[in-house]
Symmetry: C2
Subunit: 213 residues, 2 copies
DNA sequence: TAGATTGTTAATCGATTAACAATC
DNA sequence: TAGATTGTTAATCGATTAACAATC
């Protein structure tokens, strides 16, 4: 499926549309209107229609969008045919959270390995995912053809880990460390920091409160 | 400190500036240039200067910005004088990750309570944070004057939890559940979903790879 | 002075939304 | 037909960046 350029935000929403649609698929309904999708995600119906326009999916004026077809269509856009393999680097609370959260989700993305430097965790299996020593990152990434990595190690270790991952040929990195990383432009990098998020909430909560008082 | 309106992105970056500055404060340096801050965060110097302009902080043409002063200034903007108290609802891996990640960070934000429905966790203390039964949310929120909540429960439970929190008078919610929440406009809501983030990375990693091949 | 820096406006880019024609 | 919906363009809003004057 070929689409020239898709805005970042649209990609995020496509992921959300799919998950929402999967939830209502089980029910007897076969079709859904843009305003129904919009309502479930608290966005506007126009936005839904525009996103679907961008991926070239057309609905029906009477019945709306065919749920099953749309799910498939989104899959064609955001998944790869063979699927992509994912590694979690750092098997602390956050790494574990990711693995258990992901478990059982049908998906073209599969977490196939975890890495840590704690000897007690090495060679154990957590929620179906084997844990290796971080020294073996390069070896395992190449052996298992892993293309995505999630970094959940303590922040001091993040830069070295990132470098190792890039050299091993990783294609995308999701960095949960507050340390901004330097990676080659061939690697897609997404960074997220929980503290910044919390401070943002605190700021706007305060603002709201002042405003409505 | 009064600033009329601050863009969302600027608020996020202010949080990052502060953390970065705190890291270099210990060193002998007392001043920092916009391009130094920019380099550490992989953004442009103009963006740094513009953000600082928005909060009304001025640097020195010769020496740049006074690190200590700037940290204080950012604090005046994004913190409240008395500080804000935070609760974590759901003491699974993600909730624990948040608490231990936050531990030891000097901050006007303090995690003072956790909630769970697992009897084994109730009345235990995790990393200095006491855990209560979710039935006591309203009571504890009011008693301790908690204004921010982080939701890390399984997604089915999120809507009820959110409603309870809002009724108890919470001012801001950070929702880590894939379930979009409905809250009153008086409450600031920020949502983040790890799966969507990962799917986004997977998509752009794939795109990058196709493009550079 | 020459060079480096800040502070700020205007231009551009990206994302959302308003408006509306087309269709069933 | 009237009413509800989709699909799409144009307008608007928000965020970043280019350009440059002012200053030390």
């Amino acid at each position: 499926m070929f689409v020239k350029h898709l805005p970042h935000k649209t990609v995020e929403r496509l992921s959300q549309y799919r998950r929402t649609l999967l939830l209502i698929l089980s029910k007897e309904k076969t079709h859904v209107f843009s305003h129904e999708i919009a309502q479930m995600l608290h966005i506007t119906p126009v936005q839904v229609r525009r996103d679907l326009m961008l991926i070239g999916y057309s609905g029906n004026l009477r019945k709306g969008y065919d749920i099953k077809e749309l799910i498939e269509m989104i899959g064609k856009i955001i998944d790869t045919e063979k699927g992509q393999k994912v590694a979690v680097v750092g098997l602390g609370n956050l790494g574990k959270a990711f693995i258990s959260y992901f478990k059982g989700k049908r998906s073209k993305l599969t977490i196939v390995a975890a890495f840590d430097n704690n000897p007690y965790k090495i060679d154990k299996v957590y929620d179906g995912v084997p844990c290796f020593h971080v020294d073996r990152i390069s070896e395992i990434i190449k052996r298992d053809n892993i293309s995505i990595a999630i970094i959940t190690v303590p922040s001091e270790q993040a830069p070295v880990i990132a470098e190792t991952l890039v050299l091993a040929g990783i294609k995308g990195i999701l960095n949960y460390t507050p340390k901004p990383l330097n990676v080659s432009p061939y690697v897609y990098l997404e960074e997220y920091d929980m503290i910044t998020s919390l401070e943002k909430v605190a700021f706007f909560a305060k603002k709201n409160d002042e405003r409505f008082k």
